[in-house]
Symmetry: C2
Subunit: 367 residues, 2 copies
């Protein structure tokens, strides 16, 4: 027995999906969710490799402005040639039953348009971070997906990364006591020729692209939304073409309702491996190098400072890229197959975007 | 020949500091500088052990309110009984030729008074950080020492710690390119019964005591004075007696004239091992655990991210406490013997105090 997304959506609307779940789960092994990848840049290759190695996901269609490139990738990943679409043809995906969902891997400023068009075509949407370039766009995307009764998830890959989940487990277990201070940074020295420093395409600078990891991590670990944001942006190299439209460096400070204070930095002008540190009344935790692999989690609890070795938790991840994307794709596929709400729904992307807007406002920089 | 901190920085940048050091060292072997230790708390024991192991320094007198305790310590460190003074008798040190300098290890609010009285007694002053509890006091201390023609140094122990000096050498060599973002933290979960959370004695909270390390490190590595300070203080546990008078947590952000942004945090309510991170256009550097020993310095330069092992510098200090105090004491002794300006003169403590006052002002907290 097979069940189409439309059938499932109907059942879901009738509240029957819950009954179905175990069966669907079993069924899920029989069929894979078909993804249409929109935009064939760097992040898309991670996802293509992830889906290839996944249990419940497969890439069944591509959207690209470069037919040649798309055909090469299609051949590589076993995507039928007839499932390659240009941007102009995009809305035709509605008629393609091989496509259950789209993966939006476009420049930030195009996320909203293609998410909304995908929803209108009846397809679920897995959208890369940052969700869009404004709070308004995020709200429109959520509304469009709700109206079309399709699922929307923001591709926060680290939500599926085991050492990150271990960190979350430690925080929630109370082993660190009451959190008081959180810190972090994430950035890199952007290569010339990237769309990511063009404001029209990116919405803003490093905060949108890599700083959002700090925002999301701090929100996740505190479980709170910031109430008081301060920020400084600077551009040191006025003549550097990369920093004509967006800031070179940004740092911010946020207070959470419970009193936790966060500080974070991001950049497009320096090497800055992603990390966070969480300090609680009973211990501290840090994650270093939260890139695609080699995450390093350390936690140390009160009273152990003077002991040897004294390290309560010290995990160097052995998982390699594209495992985060395998887990991310399969989670969304399972949500579709079992009619579950994704772990990072549109509301999660919206919450981060609210913070991004607050940071720009605090820095006195127009978005 | 005298040399200021800035001169020393220049010499150091020119690679000349190394030539200079051995000569001083050779001359210094002729006699040891005699120190009178004022205040016999925790930091004083580090100094006592440091001086004991030093080349040019010895503790020749003690000032304490507890005669019994002082006699025990005097016996332990070979200090003649007749050189034990009460606070009331303090000014009598003027007549004691065994005392060249005093080491002020008192609660912060007493630094100014005893530094000024020591200067008036004709003794050089090595004063613990924070220098005092206000900019005004710092200025008075500098003036008093100038007037008495005695030297004044603030006991920034890490200025003499080899991995810290290695970090400074890396920054000054230009290997990190242009610095853009600096971060850091330093704090701890303060024990009940400490004078350090009593405002009258400490001047303020964790910033004065441990946050000042972040301030000093950021000023040292950037070589600039901050122009724009933002800060948040929070107290999460209103009923905790430790946080009745001073903040539990503080974070701040500072912009430097060149555009470098600094973020830092401190606390008296969490374990927070001292660290700093410096991000430049060509690489980054971090120092972890800058306590009395086990400092861990890592630096990584552009282009090495993908190589293995890829770590340009990875040094775990093998020096143990009290080596920082040995070096600190001997540096000041050499300054006295050679009539040179200490590496961290009063102006250095004053500059940090200006920042501390700015942080409190930015947080809207009265000092």
């Amino acid at each position: 027995m097979t069940i189409s997304r439309r059938d499932f959506a109907k059942l879901s609307a009738l509240g029957l999906a819950a009954h179905w779940t175990p069966q669907v789960s079993a069924l899920g092994q029989e069929r894979k969710i078909g993804y249409c990848v929109i935009g064939l840049g760097r992040i898309a290759s991670h996802f293509l490799n992830g889906a290839k190695n996944s249990e419940h996901s497969q890439v069944t269609a591509l959207v690209s402005g470069h037919r040649d490139k798309a055909e090469k990738i299609a051949a590589q990943y076993g995507v039928p040639k007839e499932n390659i679409y240009s941007y102009e043809e995009f809305d035709k995906i509605a008629a393609n039953k091989a496509i259950d969902a789209v993966y939006v891997a476009l420049p930030n400023s195009m996320h909203a348009e293609y998410t909304i068009r995908a929803a209108k075509a009846g397809k679920h949407v897995l959208c890369e971070k940052p969700m869009a370039i404004s709070v308004t766009e995020c709200q429109q995307m959520i509304a469009a997906c709700n109206q079309a009764k399709v699922k929307l998830m923001i591709a926060y890959r680290l939500h599926f990364e085991p050492t990150t989940l271990k960190a979350l487990e430690i925080v929630r277990s109370g082993k660190l006591g009451t959190l008081q201070t959180v810190q972090g940074a994430n950035g890199f020295n952007i290569a010339p020729g990237e769309w990511r420093y063009t404001k029209k395409l990116a919405g803003g600078g490093a905060i949108f692209d890599v700083g959002v990891y700090c925002i999301n991590a701090h929100r996740m670990f505190t479980g709170e939304e910031p109430v008081n944001v301060k920020a400084d942006f600077t551009t040191r190299d006025k003549d550097d073409v990369r920093f004509k439209e967006v800031e070179q460096n940004a740092s911010w400070m946020m207070q959470f309702p419970s009193g936790i204070i966060a500080t974070a930095s991001t950049t497009y002008g320096s090497q800055m491996p992603g990390y966070y540190k969480l300090f609680g009344t009973k211990g501290w935790l840090q994650m270093e190098n939260y890139n695609y692999d080699n995450q390093h989690l350390t936690a140390r609890y009160a009273g152990e400072e003077k002991g040897a070795p004294g390290v309560s938790v010290d995990i160097l991840s052995t998982e390699k890229d594209p495992m985060q994307f395998v887990r991310e794709a399969d989670h969304f596929s399972e949500c579709i197959l079992q009619n579950k709400t994704p772990q990072a729904p549109g509301e999660e992307g919206l919450a981060d975007m609210r913070v991004i807007e607050s940071i720009y406002k605090a820095a006195g920089v127009k978005l």
